[in-house]
Symmetry: C2
Subunit: 153 residues, 2 copies
DNA sequence: GGATTTTATTTCAAGTATAAATTATATAAA
DNA sequence: TTTATATAATTTATACTTGAAATAAAATCC
């Protein structure tokens, strides 16, 4: 399974591994930068920002499960983050008419305001961090990444 | 700072944000797959694999701090992961001649063997996960990601 | 209608992660 | 020397993260 003729272990396999390592290193590097900005400028964390961001894109609110799927993190994880956001007054939980299992999570006014302030600067940070990349170059990478995500068994 | 004419908030800035979101989502998706494979096939985790992998590439061993920099995670984090690997017998800590603060971490024979078994399959998983990508397409993305990493203030 | 299964969420234990504080050692400067 | 500063690693407190088990409510089956 790893000789020069096997399905893996050949040049293409190694190249794909290089791509994965590059993907991972670059993402971690940018994440570390963004986390640092979040921490120093807003005393908050990336996961909290991600939750607010997802809720901002869904004005009507999201169920816990939808939130978990959007963020691609586990159910139990979201419970904890939302809990802290609720106690900070940025987010509220609402009962769902007709399904007493479900819980709708929504930005409060304070949460929407806090997010708006952060979002503009966040875009700015990303813009600076990716300053070396032009529109078309970005599009090329976006297309490749999309094709990776869509190619799931 | 976010009108259509500002340095951010324009089309290019939005495109870079899209690129970042794509980067993050794709990396998380692949990471989740790999974590699942690691867990079911080897009862281990990605961070442990990453440590073994770094040590395998440095036969002479690495200092805790070097390990932390290689993996781009915090110092205290490495302490914990190495601790568990030591108690599993996969890694050993050695005193450093001439510097009593430092600790050299190295694979044991068992650790090297365990890693070798995992590494081949890991490459295979990545190969399958990125099956949609050809050599040149991968290279294009690698180049872009490298230019991002190198463009640091 | 009642039993079964599925769905939505929380709880739990273990592990991963950070930043800040601490310990111990090394190096430089006075 | 003595003092000051820097470096290597750990410890601590808190937060994030997962997978599995537990709860509770809804939907489906018979």
């Amino acid at each position: 399974m790893s000789g020069p003729d096997g399905k893996a272990g050949n040049g293409l396999s190694k190249q794909r591994l290089r791509l994965w390592v590059n993907l991972l290193r670059t993402t971690r590097l940018i994440e570390a930068d963004l986390r640092e900005e979040m921490r120093t400028a807003y005393r908050t964390t990336l996961p909290r920002f991600d939750v607010l961001s997802a809720l901002e894109r869904h004005a009507g609110g999201l169920l816990m499960g939808e939130l978990s799927r959007h963020l691609m993190v586990s159910n139990g994880n979201v419970t904890g983050i939302v809990e802290r956001l609720v106690s900070d007054g940025l987010v509220e939980r609402l009962a769902v008419e007709g399904d007493r299992r479900a819980i709708l999570v929504r930005l409060t006014q304070a949460g929407a305001a806090a997010f708006a302030a952060m979002a503009a600067e966040h875009e700015d940070w990303v813009d600076r961090r990716l300053a070396a990349i032009g529109h078309d170059e970005a599009q090329t990478v976006i297309d490749t990444l999309s094709s990776i995500r869509e190619d799931r068994p």
